[in-house]
């Protein structure tokens, strides 16, 4: 085994002995074994598809379409390009709303963590944001902004900002006070304290917050697109629902889930890995 292969192994696998070592050796006999960490997830997907197919065959109802019908619908919306267009529209709205919420949350979160008075000032707003359902923000934004880009952006921002603010507060509070004392003793500039101390400490929390934020944003954007817009995945879901087309609803849901999975594995995890490279290098 070369050095790169050695490095790609998990820490527990390196130099492992006994049954764990034997199972790793067995795993390496299969082609594509480096993807071993995805196997449990793949197994879940296979079992879910098999379970659904069994249910469809047993129930034999139009309300529970079989896997083939759903796959056909997925294929149709993918090959027509409609899925890409609508997902692009929805994702763009999510990204804008998320970006707005992210900037506001980082600023307010840091201020809340650093100044108790600021935290007390914003506390009612945060509690309000956490308790008010996304549907309320959706309805209010549709009323206020009508059919415009502002509706999804503001609704998403209002929906996810409280959660993000709490994540940022938690992240700032996690900064080692000894490190902050060192920074004060050396009279580091505020910009360096932010860039070199807070930001790296915040990164794991921000990624966690971003994941939760994106999942919340998806729930908000569907409502906004159902109630106030004429395109996007939410709108398509509503159209299929109006036609009582269950396979259409499932196809759009699955396609969007796939898009979000690509975002999770392709963007979030890679970005997190790149930004916390030092942790892996320090371990090796």
């Amino acid at each position: 085994m070369n050095g790169a292969q050695q490095a790609s192994l998990p820490t527990t696998a390196r130099g492992a002995s006994g049954w764990r070592g034997a199972s790793m050796r067995l795993l390496r006999m299969f082609p594509g074994w480096r993807l071993w960490r995805f196997y449990p997830a793949l197994l879940f997907c296979v079992l879910a598809v098999l379970g659904w197919e069994c249910m469809a065959r047993v129930l034999h109802s139009a309300l529970v379409p079989d896997v083939g019908t759903i796959a056909g619908e997925i294929s149709r919306i993918l090959t027509s390009g409609e899925a890409f267009t609508q997902i692009g529209i929805t994702l763009w709205r999510i990204v804008l709303g998320f970006a707005a919420a992210f900037i506001v949350s980082v600023l307010i979160g840091i201020a809340c963590a650093r100044r108790p008075a600021v935290r007390i000032f914003f506390e009612p707003a945060i509690v309000l944001g956490l308790t008010v359902p996304g549907l309320v923000w959706t309805l209010l934004c549709v009323i206020w902004f009508g059919v415009s880009l502002a509706t999804p952006v503001v609704a998403i921002a209002l929906g996810i900002a409280p959660t993000l603010i709490l994540t940022v507060i938690q992240g700032v509070n996690s900064v080692d006070p000894d490190i902050m004392e060192m920074a004060r003793a050396y009279r580091l500039r505020r910009v360096d304290v932010f860039r070199r101390i807070w930001w790296p400490s915040l990164i794991p929390f921000l990624f966690s917050g971003a994941r939760i934020g994106f999942s919340l944003a998806w729930k908000v954007i569907v409502l906004v697109e159902i109630f106030g817009l004429s395109d996007g995945v939410g709108y398509k879901l509503n159209s299929e629902f109006s036609l009582q087309n269950v396979e259409g609803v499932m196809a759009w849901t699955i396609v969007f889930w796939l898009a979000m999975s690509v975002l999770e594995y392709g963007v979030f995890q890679n970005a997190e890995r790149a930004l916390s490279q030092w942790r892996r290098e320090a371990r090796t």
Partner: protein, 253 residues
């Protein structure tokens, strides 16, 4: 340029969990001359670290003032070494040193890391280093700022005896390089105090008072094997144990 440090009528009290305040310092007066290294020794909780924190401006006195240099003057560049290295794990050794510098100064960083024998680890992550190596980096960081004031808060107490001894020698080497800063050393290690300091202040009681000040009139570089160091060490121990009848000892060499 090193600077004088003056504690003038400094009082500091901390709230106690059981209620009320505990006076750590009351009307404490002391002056450290420019370029002098003074060690504060005494039992735990006597107020040694409080003095150091006040000098670092990490805390403010309830009464009185701690001035560095002339009154109203900018307190100057400050280097500090804590008991733990307090390095940023996500920055390399070089980046940790660059952090405290205004700009990049690769030559200075390389020179300091060479003195503390860490030049080969310039791109290493702190987590990959041993405790002694991390403390060497912390030592280099303190000198990277070209300190006018150097504060040492039990800097080698978390290290094993041999590593601590090696680092004390490195500190002496850094101290002798260029114009020495004005320093405060807080330590429980009397031999360390005797080896490094120009004066040893023995603090006792609540609020703390200087029960004895011992001048260490030894030229630098000093050797840890020097018999005079052991002599001073014994005097400090004797004083702390309450056996000392001497208020001041000068010219031990």
């Amino acid at each position: 340029m090193s600077r004088r440090i003056r504690f003038a009528g400094v009082s500091k009290a901390y709230a106690q969990r059981a209620g009320g305040n505990r006076d750590v310092l009351r009307d404490f007066d002391f002056e450290i001359a420019a370029g002098e290294l003074v060690a504060f020794v005494g039992p735990s909780g006597v107020g040694k670290s409080t003095l150091l924190h006040l000098a670092a401006q990490l805390d403010v006195p309830d009464r009185g003032a701690v001035t560095i240099g002339a009154d109203g003057e900018y307190p100057g560049r400050l280097g500090i070494v804590f008991q733990q290295p307090r390095l940023l794990d996500w920055l390399t050794v070089r980046q940790n040193l660059e952090l405290v510098l205004d700009g990049h100064d690769d030559a200075r960083i390389d020179e300091l890391l060479a003195i503390v024998e860490m030049k080969d680890f310039v791109d290493a992550w702190p987590r990959t280093l041993s405790g002694g190596q991390r403390q060497r980096v912390a030592l280099a960081r303190a000198f990277a700022v070209k300190p006018e004031v150097l504060l040492l808060d039990e800097p080698f107490s978390a290290l094993d005896e041999l590593t601590g001894r090696r680092l004390r020698l490195l500190l002496q080497q850094l101290w002798l390089k260029g114009r020495p800063p004005t320093g405060i050393l807080v330590t429980h290690n009397m031999q360390e105090a005797a080896f490094l300091a120009d004066r040893i202040v023995i603090l006792q009681g609540h609020p703390a008072r200087a029960v004895d000040v011992i001048d260490v009139d030894l030229p630098r570089p000093r050797s840890p094997e020097d018999e005079c160091i052991f002599h001073i060490h014994r005097r400090v121990i004797a004083c702390l144990s309450g056996f000392s009848q001497t208020n001041r000892l000068e010219g031990v060499s």
